[in-house]
């Protein structure tokens, strides 16, 4: 704010900032005064997620812990590293595992995989902590009830994203974690073939819900964690769930603004 003195001289940077090209892209030019700063937020498709002005406490890390923002940021990091990993990773039982080895051994900056994996863990933690913070500041209360609900959906989706990604290295850790995890789906009441009530869904000698037609099958594309499961998890992980989570995120962010911005004491 107080740096407006710096605009005294027309430096090259400033001329650049006022050029037609620059202004056509970033309308407000270099923010040098109050109006400029406001416009820089208002005019940016990315920054206008934020309001132009905020209560002081909302800027304090002590209050927000920045967990929501970090969660979103890590999501972006995961998207980028994920896209990069997709260039080298083939979701087939022949190649999945060996491609992981190659990412480690041969691919330049294969550290992307580490960033992706640890980032995924970190995102789970930041999302939890974000929820914790929101709870502790009572920010779920009216009028933000629905956004809390959306937030819970986002939490669930985050876990699912992490879970579907867990299978992709196709190592023992992966296959057994997913086996244990998806076996729970077998026990879904009525929809899983070992769930209560599934046995009731039969006509005559024909069992309608069995290992080949239950909800777990729809998830795995087979009776056990195999080639089809790898592919399905891959598709869910790379396209299906991100597609859904982005929609929910859009609603979440939009609702933050529409519900009056960050929660504030009266």
């Amino acid at each position: 704010m107080s740096k407006s003195e710096k605009k005294k001289k027309e430096s090259i940077l400033l001329r650049l900032g006022n050029s037609q090209v620059w202004k056509s892209i970033i309308r407000s030019g270099v923010p040098r005064d109050r109006r400029g700063r406001m416009l820089s937020v208002l005019n940016s498709v990315f920054l206008h997620l934020h309001p132009v002005r905020m209560p002081k406490h909302a800027v304090k890390l002590k209050y927000t812990w920045c967990m929501g923002g970090l969660s979103f940021y890590i999501f972006l990091v995961l998207t980028i590293t994920g896209i990069l990993l997709m260039f080298y990773y083939r979701p087939t039982i022949e190649y999945a595992y060996t491609d992981m080895i190659d990412l480690r051994e041969q691919v330049p900056l294969g550290i992307m995989r580490e960033i992706h994996r640890w980032g995924a863990h970190l995102m789970v933690i930041t999302v939890w902590l974000h929820m914790f913070r929101v709870f502790m500041t009572g920010s779920y209360k009216s009028p933000r009830e629905f956004n809390w609900v959306v937030g819970v959906m986002l939490l669930t989706l985050t876990l699912l994203l992490s879970f579907t990604g867990y299978l992709l290295p196709w190592d023992q850790l992966a296959i057994w974690a997913i086996t244990v995890g998806t076996n729970m789906a077998r026990a879904t009441p009525f929809l899983g073939h070992e769930g209560p009530g599934a046995a009731l869904l039969s006509i005559g000698d024909i069992n309608l819900v069995h290992a080949g037609s239950d909800v777990r099958f729809a998830l795995l594309g087979g009776r056990f964690v195999g080639e089809a499961a790898l592919l399905r998890f891959y598709v869910l992980h790379c396209i299906g769930l991100p597609f859904i989570i982005v929609i929910f995120m859009a609603v979440h962010f939009w609702r933050i603004r529409k519900d009056g911005g960050i929660s504030t004491p009266l």
Binding site: I203, I206, N207, L208, S213
Partner: protein, 1002 residues
């Protein structure tokens, strides 16, 4: 109205109209989506499966009715039913007791459960403490002592609990037995009844599964809904059946993907023998013993369908599977019935049925003859015999001897005129020659071409005769007797490889007929060559051509002269007299220039030609033409020793893409089969309508194959594919199989089966033996199968177990007389190397599971009791009636003579001799050798008194007696080569055929 106006403020559309529009579009949307389901749901294979189900229901109903009638007529069944009823009544009477017993059992079980619980808890505690105790002990912890105490007390307690539990179990066991006792009778009867009704029950339960008429109500509902659209993922009845074969692959160019065959989705009955007589697509496979069934060598789970039949295995409808019709009629039928058209987007369409044997070659390519694949075998043999591999490289025929005779010494054999006429039209001299026709074909039969080709033949003949080397022919020393020559030709075995057939025999070509065409048909020999040449040839074929497969029959001068004069008497009238066009230098110049221009500029060519003399031109053209036509592919021609074959390689012809075949202007279906067929039928046809210079024309000669032959050759060609077949699918490449393959190949090359029989194959010569027999002993003898067999070349079954390899090797190199009665003579094959003989011997050995090359000889002692007994037994058996004992002639006439027994110990293997003595018919059915008599049925006293103590010692062990006989055989010594004796005997006494049947003495 007023309301409407008001509500239309800020509105463009009338809302009620929009509602209607929305309703209509939503309904259309819904309909379209439902349509999607129904379109997806209706598949041709479902209709077929429905039909098949109907068929199955019909069949099963019929069978069930049959079974039920049988059952109702069965008295046993009624009886059991009655007894069962009675048993039930009996049981009813005791029901009170039963209830009490069951109650007791129930309470006992309750007690057991409780005891078991206690035990389980105790056991778990014990195990945990045991572990802790072990850990403490291992790490010397402080609490070992206390844990030990705890452990021991728990152990004791556990033991007590165990005892209680076991006692409870025992009580239950007893009580259960008691309870079961009441029902035992009923149970037994029910079991009996079930055994009788087993078949009906199976059929009944099958019907309950497939026939709605036999279903329970709820199953009927299930049956009605299980295949509805959307619901059909739950538990459909109609579903796609498939086999996935991981190690057989489809080639998708960049990689190979595991084969997935869904053929059985429509061909539902393919594995069920009961559908053998039904229509396609439900018909069972005609050869389930060989294919598909799990017991066959090619189970469907391991080989699938398309690996043999071709086609797109993943397809599930008629067109997308790329069915291919086997005839134009079928094509028409399919077009009407299935809207068939050939799907061109799959490189390996289904093989039309007549070519299906081609696929056998994929895996069985190393076998000389593939069992059960007659057409393929014929094709392969035809390719070999026609010498296709002379011009077309084919890996399978690598290093095969050339198909035609050597022309290195051709000038000594025939005249230039004969050669000219022969080349221009071989079949006009010999109707069934393998030499194909190069000239007067559809692309060179116009006048200009004929003028040109006439000169070409002149040049070729000129070259051949000019480069022919000297042949030191013998002249016939004795005058030959053509009559005796004829007899010799028919009796010595010449007809195993040759024919003397002046006219076409009009028989279907088969492997058997081909065996007789190993050597040329001998008609017209007299017109072709001289008496001296034939004589010299017979005396020593290798002298004329070192590579010839014609063996040496070790003929005496007289025999050779007889045969030569007989063969020379076979002439072809009018052939040599045919007029020959004169040499035309002008045309010759043209040809010369064409050849020269290929290497030189036009001007240089003319200069070079001008420098040539006439003779040089002939030379030059001859050489170029032989090179062009590739004559050296089949013949040894001086100057062409190292030339490469001129034609396209055919090793993987079956995988050649159809796009790479030039169909020219010929309108035939665009498939490999059609192209091959057309090419073989009329090799130059694809030139039709094309403008080509003489040296650009297609060159393949015409073999005048019959349609059957063409189908067979095409079958083989289609089989020449590049598919990668995993080790697991091809016959194992073990020592045995490799040896057998190598041996079979040699046996094929040298046509052993022209005379011998192995495993029922071969013996092409037998009909001529019959003819000979008829001539010498009359018609009745000629019908006696065992007699024919005794005069035919020997059957070589069990040869590997039978003879000692070392003896066999010597025999093959220098054949000696074994069967004194035989006229047929084992020839000497000088051309076969030791290495190849070894292969052949190994073949016999490994085929019979004989792996040892060297064995300990069978040892006997002439003073042993066994030997002595053997002596008595051979006497009893009167072996000397037929067998030579060294130089001692058999007692009976030459007709029944059998091998010299003094050969035995060097020739035969002792184990085999024992098997042979035990039952000769089991080894060679139809042999005239009887089972030797051994005295085991007699009383021992009689035996001892009649035949002495040595035999009696062995009584009544027939095996021991046969062993004794064998010991005796091993002791027989004396002259081995009795050929002189035999010859003298036959000359003086003949065979001694007796027209009436004679009662055997033994």
């Amino acid at each position: 109205m007023a309301e409407k106006i008001e509500s239309n403020q800020e509105r463009l559309y009338d809302i009620s109209k929009l509602n209607i529009l929305f309703a209509v579009s939503s309904i259309i949307f819904l309909i379209v989506l439902i349509w999607t389901f129904s379109a997806d749901h209706s598949r041709s294979w479902k209709d077929l499966q429905l039909q098949f189900r109907q068929l199955q229901i019909e069949k099963t109903n019929v069978r069930l009715a049959e079974e039920k009638t049988t059952l109702s007529e069965l008295g046993e069944y009624k009886e059991i039913a009655d007894r069962l009823e009675k048993a039930h009544e009996e049981f009813q009477k005791k029901s009170d007791e039963v209830v009490i017993a069951e109650d007791t059992l129930f309470s006992l079980k309750a007690r057991l459960s409780k005891v078991e619980q206690t035990y389980n808890f105790a056991k778990a505690d014990f195990d945990a403490v045991k572990y802790e105790y072990e850990v403490a002990q291992a790490h010397d912890l402080d609490n070992v002592e206390s844990l030990k105490k705890k452990f021991e007390s728990l152990q004791n307690q556990l033991y007590d609990d165990l005892l209680i539990q076991q006692q409870a179990e025992k009580e239950i066991e007893n009580q259960t037995a008691k309870v079961q006792e009441f029902r035992s009778e009923i149970k037994r009867l029910e079991n009996e009844k079930n055994e009788l009704t087993q078949q009906t029950d199976i059929l009944g339960s099958k019907l309950e599964k497939i026939d709605p008429a036999h279903m329970t109500f709820s199953n009927k509902i299930a049956n009605a809904i299980r295949d509805l659209p959307f619901l059909d993922f739950l538990s459909p009845y109609y579903k796609v059946d498939q086999v996935v074969i991981k190690d057989l692959t489809d080639n998708v160019n960049f990689t190979r993907v595991p084969k997935v065959d869904r053929c059985m989705t429509c061909h539902k009955g393919i594995l069920k023998a009961e559908f053998e007589n039904d229509e396609q697509p439900f018909k069972a496979h005609p050869n389930l013993d060989l294919f598909l069934s799990s017991k066959s060598p090619h189970p469907v789970e391991e080989f699938g369908c398309t690996s043999c039949h071709g086609g797109r295995g993943r397809g599930t409808d008629f067109v997308s599977t790329v069915h291919m019709p086997s005839s134009p009629e079928q094509e028409k039928e399919w077009e009407e019935k299935y809207h068939w058209h050939q799907l061109h987007h799959w490189d390996s369409p289904m093989l039309p049925m007549q070519y299906v044997e081609a696929s056998c070659f994929k895996c069985h390519s190393n076998e000389t003859s593939v069992k059960y694949a007659d057409k393929l075998n014929l094709g392969l043999n035809l390719i070999e015999r026609s010498g296709c591999f002379g011009c077309h490289k084919i890996d399978k025929y690598k290093d095969r001897p050339k198909a035609g005779p050597s022309l290195e010494k051709v000038a000594s054999k025939m005249t230039k005129e004969w050669a000219y006429n022969w080349i221009s039209d071989p079949k006009s001299f010999r109707h069934n020659t393998w030499m194909p026709r190069f000239f007067n074909q559809s692309n060179n039969n116009d006048e200009d071409s004929q003028n040109r080709t006439n000169q070409e033949i002149h040049a070729i003949v000129h070259y051949l005769f000019k480069n022919s080397s000297e042949y030191g022919m013998d002249s016939v020393p004795i005058k030959g007797d053509a009559k005796n020559g004829e007899l010799l030709v028919s009796s010595l075995g010449c007809l195993g490889c040759h024919q003397i057939a002046p006219d076409p025999l009009n028989q279907k070509t088969s492997i058997e007929t081909l065996r007789k065409e190993q050597g040329p048909n001998l008609v017209g020999t007299g017109s072709k060559t001289s008496l001296n040449w034939v004589y010299s040839w017979l005396k020593d074929p290798q002298k004329y051509s070192s590579s010839t497969r014609m063996p040496n029959l070790r003929l005496t001068n007289q025999e050779a002269a007889d045969i030569a004069s007989y063969l020379s008497s076979l002439t072809k009238k009018g052939f040599s007299e045919k007029s020959i066009p004169s040499v035309d230098e002008e045309v010759l110049d043209e040809i010369t220039l064409d050849f020269l221009k290929k290497m030189n500029s036009d001007e240089d060519s003319r200069i070079k030609r001008a420098e040539m003399t006439f003779e040089e031109k002939l030379d030059y053209n001859g050489e170029k033409l032989i090179r062009m036509y590739g004559c050296f592919g089949c013949h040894d021609i001086p100057g062409f020793e190292n030339n490469k074959p001129i034609g396209t390689e055919l090793t993987f012809e079956g995988s050649k893409l159809v796009e790479k075949l030039d169909f020219g202007f010929i309108e035939i279906s665009h498939s490999r089969e059609a192209w091959f067929t057309q090419k073989l039928k009329e090799p130059r046809i694809f030139d039709r309508g094309k403008v080509k210079l003489p040296d650009e024309k297609l060159l393949m000669p015409n073999f005048d194959f019959t349609d059957d032959e063409i189908t067979a050759i095409v079958t083989a060609l289609i089989g020449f594919v590049k598919d990668e077949i995993p080790e697991s699918k091809i016959p194992e490449r073990n020592e045995r199989n490799l040896a057998i393959e190598a041996g079979e190949e040699l046996i094929r090359i040298y046509n052993c089966l022209g005379c011998h029989t192995i495993d029922g194959e071969g013996g092409a010569i037998r009909p001529t033996i019959v003819a000979w027999l008829e001539g010498i002993a009359g018609a009745s003898s000629a019908e006696d199968a065992s007699l024919i067999q005794s005069f035919a070349p020997p059957i070589l079954d069990t040869e590997g177990r039978k003879v000692q390899p070392e003896w066999l090797f010597n025999f093959l190199n220098r054949p000696t007389m074994i069967r004194p009665n035989l006229q047929v003579r084992m020839p000497t094959y000088e051309v076969i190397s030791d290495k190849d003989w070894n292969k052949i011997i190994k073949y016999f050995q490994l085929k019979d599971g004989q792996t040892l090359a060297y064995e300990n000889p069978h040892q006997i002692s002439k003073s042993s009791s066994s030997y002595m007994a053997g002596d008595v037994i051979q006497d009893l058996g009167a072996c000397n009636n037929c067998h030579f004992y060294g130089s001692t002639k058999p007692k009976q006439a030459a007709l029944t003579w059998a091998p010299n027994l003094s050969l035995t110990k060097e020739r035969l293997r002792s184990e085999w001799v024992l098997d042979w003595l035990r039952d000769p018919q089991a080894i060679i059915p139809g042999t005239k050798m009887p089972t030797p008599y051994v005295p085991i049925d007699e009383q021992i006293e009689d035996v001892e008194s009649a035949w002495g103590k040595d035999v009696a010692k062995l009584h009544p062990d027939s095996e021991a007696m046969l062993k004794a006989l064998r010991d005796y055989l091993w002791g027989i010594e004396g002259q081995q080569d009795v050929s002189a004796i035999v010859k003298r005997h036959l000359e003086t006494e003949g065979y001694g055929f007796i027209v009436e049947d004679e009662e055997d003495e033994w």
